[in-house]
Symmetry: C2
Subunit: 142 residues, 2 copies
Amino acid sequence: MGVMEDGTLASARHTDVADPAPGGRDTTSCEIRDLLDRLADKWSLLVIELLGTGTHRFTELHREIDEISQRMLTLTLRHLERDGLVTRTVHPVVPPRVDYTLTDLGRSLLVAIEGLVWWTRAHRDEIAAARSGYDARRESSA
Amino acid sequence: MGVMEDGTLASARHTDVADPAPGGRDTTSCEIRDLLDRLADKWSLLVIELLGTGTHRFTELHREIDEISQRMLTLTLRHLERDGLVTRTVHPVVPPRVDYTLTDLGRSLLVAIEGLVWWTRAHRDEIAAARSGYDARRESSA
DNA sequence: CGGCATCCTAAGGGATACTG
DNA sequence: CAGTATCCCTTAGGATGCCG
């Protein structure tokens, strides 16, 4: 979100001046919205996680994710670059070589993300169980 | 994303048996995908965060988010319920009263999420700066 | 190699109306 | 009150082709 199809970048489409009722809770909502708008797309976290390993060039990332389309990889990287999470370095050689690295900011985010990854890993089974339980209950009342 | 329009629930549409090259990294990718598929939609995190405060009934949640449509709130709650993150309690009274609460699993997730919220809060300014910097650079080369 | 630009579809999600 | 059902539009994002 933020990167437009035409290549321009939306600065602030959904009014940043929201929060008509300034209460602690509303502020948090706003922060979460920001967060989601930044990372809740299909690929950002994946790319960040990969770059956590170190510098990668475009094609490497593309190979390592490979379900991603070239277009979306580009878009995602631009997005992350804009937010100051990754650095894009173009080497003036032929054939061109472009490296992507996490910035300090990006690395700090990675730490927070790892928490969630850890959680997922730890509770994967519980979730699977909850799901099949739910589905079973639904099916029986069909 | 899991919840279909017709009310049924997709059990496993994007093949869960992926990971053709079993390496530590691919597994992580898979976990992140799971994670994203679960809460990277527009509202889940927001609802979880709200329920972190305690039990809420449907209308309360609707009022507190209020940009959300009734439809999406329902869908989101069903989704979270299915994953075992929230409990839905129907009180047999008229007018009906339905309470939503975080399960233990949900609360444990909340902790992980808070880490991200904290990160967002802490780095909000840096991101804003990075953005305007990026946009400015773009504009100057127009 | 590392991209844009274009086209096009499928999914997400809002608005509205109806119901127990 | 707490939903469901329907309609419809907007967006994400895949496929493909061209370019420095």
